[in-house]
Amino acid sequence: MREERKFSVTEPPHISSGETVPRAMLDTILALVPVTLVAIYFYRLNAVFLIGVCLLAAVVTDAVARKIKGRKPSVSDLSVLVTGLILALCFSPLTNWWTAVFATVLAVGIGKEWMGGLGWNRFNPAAFGRAGVIVLAPVTVFLNRQFAGWNVSFPMSPDVVDSVSGATPLTMIASPQMTLDVPHLQLLLANPGGGGLAETSALALLLGGAYLLYRQHITWHIPVSILGAVAVLTTILGHNPADHLLTGGLMLGALFMATDWVTSPITDPGRIIFGVLIGVLVVVFRVFLGPTEGVAFAILIMNAFVPLIDRLTRRGVFGQLNAAKAAAAKATATKAA
């Protein structure tokens, strides 16, 4: 009798690229490290605390929400950490920790897990959480009353405190009475402006985006079309496009939130349509509606249209384009004859 040998039998292909979801999520976290470091440099322990609170809240919410569904925590795929980190980067260093926790619970608990979990969520969880605390302002007010006196804050250097407590660059460009008094170069490189943590350095975000592009986790279509649409439209409206590109959550949104795999289109033309429309909405919000998280809302609105965009941008399969062209040529030939 021959010795029994055990090995697996599966359908082909039998090899894989080695790309995994945790690896992609880890790469996204790595891509956010530069901007996180810049934020920590300016806001010190305040930034560390806020990020820590969001990450912890994300992990706990994930565990609880999944427990209710009878599943094990999904922290090992790292996606909740990405959501937590992006959310923290959306907030200003002066944000109360309970607001951050509330946003994270909305993002991970409802935006992601109760919409079906990773892969099934229709809306970008971070944008969902960020917009959620604005839409649910009564709850935030209630929380503020309940937790008043529990606030935690750490000392920052005096000039940082000054700029943080003043108007943010986004408020400056969005209100007719004010003008942007921060040089563009400073916004690009490093500026403790008082907006979200991610607003401290556009360059650091671009570095991260370049890394994701290099690792092929994102394509250029979405960020370029968002930023391009914003630049073109603001120029047409008589604004300085650099003012808009370098302020608010635009850079973070364009590079890290709109490019979220699950909630963006899968075809390249679809990605361009998606990006351009987000850009249009951002400009509409900023120019006509005032400075409140226009990017998060724009992304959420377009998230809802993704299935439609995907359906409209189905591409011709191999050999169909050619066949159509040949048929057209034949038709012209017959006509000519």
Binding site: T10, H14, A24, G119, I266, F318
Partner: protein
């Protein structure tokens, strides 16, 4: 810039270095061979020998069972042991003829194993040549095993102007065609001329990927003095060896969806098939052996072996020093499209280009989770499909929009790249057969 196909494709680790420098060796014929009757696309062959009958090597033992079918020949001399169902690579019980070798390796008369002069053979009429190829049991040796003679029969109304010889060998690990091009270039070219004569055409192109510079060189040297034949190099990308992709890469023609290469005036044949055509016509030798790459991390000595059809994988692996370490997976064919087997008790067939013994690391699969819609499968699909959507339709039985799925060539690029480990090829295969059934039922209802 070197040419390649227009859309998609992936670059899996090649692992060809394991065997690309190993010359083809011919082990002694095995003591027993199990030859399946169903070795080509189409109908299985019909046995014409009986148990306990003496047969010579190369003797016809089964004749074609239909128009699309190929005859089968004895690959050793000896006595037919039995004709019964055995497990093969296409199923657990396939009718086979088992022959016990007498160790003499006596060939049928007329076979001239040393012949290489092809002038006389090329003077024969195309019809005679085609009959010889059909009689020798030739099938496409690239893996699909479509009867060669059927592919070469001029279609009514169709016009062929170019023969494309496929030397891409894009599957990782496999080097059988590579070695054959290096060691048997004149034979391949002679076979190419036979195929050109059968088709009645003056132009042929040999397509080779740029990861085989030595093969390009030997093939270029061999075609040197023949007009109308050229060797074209394309850059390495999987699935370059797929017919439609290779035609696009080399000739710049796009085969319409759902049509055959004939539509754009091209016939594609594998280099190994051309060599078999040479052997059939010049040496009068039917297709009873082929070159097989035995490779992978779990085989002691990876090799390229010229083995008789019907040799069991057990014997094949024994020629390569046996299994080394933990075997993760046994595959017939390449790692992208090959079939995983559950036993070594399976015979080599005409379509067997490689046998891979993957160790546990090579065979590791990504755990499957929900699709994240990253769109990587859409990016890499060479056929321009949306694999994630097709798989979802197939899984949920919502096949109204599945039509495009018929164009899937099951190359596996989508699943190779998928970070969520989705078994896309598996789902789409099911979808394809369900869709066919659905359409057939609709047709019946309509009629």
């Amino acid at each position: 810039m070197r040419r390649t196909f227009a859309r998609g494709g992936v670059h899996p680790p090649q692992r060809k270095e394991l065997t690309s420098g190993v010359a083809i060796s011919s082990p002694a014929p095995p003591a027993i061979v199990t030859i399946p009757l169903h070795q080509s696309i189409g109908a299985p062959a019909r046995a014409i020998v009986k148990a306990r009958e003496e047969v010579a090597c190369g003797q016809l033992i089964a004749e074609p069972g239909g128009f699309i079918s190929a005859p089968v020949h004895a690959s050793v001399s000896g006595k037919v042991k039995r004709i019964a169902a055995f497990p093969t690579s296409i199923g657990p019980s396939v009718e086979c003829i088992q022959i016990e070798s007498d160790g003499q390796d006596t060939w049928v008369p007329d076979v001239n194993l040393g012949a290489s002069e092809c002038t006389a053979a090329l003077a024969k009429s195309p019809e005679d040549l085609l009959a010889t190829l059909a009689g020798a049991g030739l099938v496409g040796l690239g893996g699909a095993a479509f009867p060669t003679a059927v592919k070469l029969r001029p279609p009514p109304g169709g016009k062929v102007d170019t023969l494309l010889l496929n030397g891409a060998e894009c599957e990782p690990y496999l080097t059988a065609d590579h070695r054959l091009m290096i060691e048997e270039a004149p034979g391949i070219i002679a076979g190419l001329r036979v195929l050109m004569r059968v088709l009645g055409i003056e132009r042929a192109v040999i397509g080779i990927e740029d990861n085989k510079p030595d093969a390009v060189e030997t093939m270029r040297a061999a075609v040197d003095e023949i007009g109308g034949v050229s060797v074209e190099v394309c850059c390495t990308a999987y699935p370059q060896g797929a017919e439609k992709q290779l035609i696009q890469a080399i000739l710049g023609r796009e085969v319409p969806s759902g049509k055959l290469p004939l539509q754009v005036g091209v016939v594609v044949q594998n280099v190994a098939t051309a060599f078999a055509a040479f052997e059939a016509v010049v040496r009068h030798k039917p297709l009873i052996e082929r070159v097989v790459t035995v490779s992978g991390g779990a085989v002691a000595e990876p090799k390229n072996l010229r083995v008789r059809i019907g040799t069991s994988l057990e014997d094949l692996v024994a020629h390569c020093g046996g299994v080394r370490g933990e075997l993760g997976k046994l595959i017939m064919g390449g790692p992208m499209m090959g079939k995983a087997l559950k036993s070594f008790d399976i015979p080599v067939v005409k379509a067997t280009s490689g046998v891979l013994l993957m160790d546990e690391v090579e065979a590791a699969q990504v755990d499957e989770q929900a699709c994240l819609r990253c769109g990587r499968c859409v990016q890499v699909c060479p056929q321009g499909l949306m694999p994630c959507d097709l798989a979802a339709m197939a899984n949920h039985g919502r096949l109204e929009g599945f039509g495009d799925g018929a164009d899937c060539v099951e190359c596996g690029c989508c699943q190779f790249i998928c970070p969520a480990g989705r078994r896309l090829v598996h789902s789409i295969r099911f979808g394809k057969s369900d869709y066919r059934r659905l359409k057939a039922a609709e047709k019946r209802q309509g009629a």
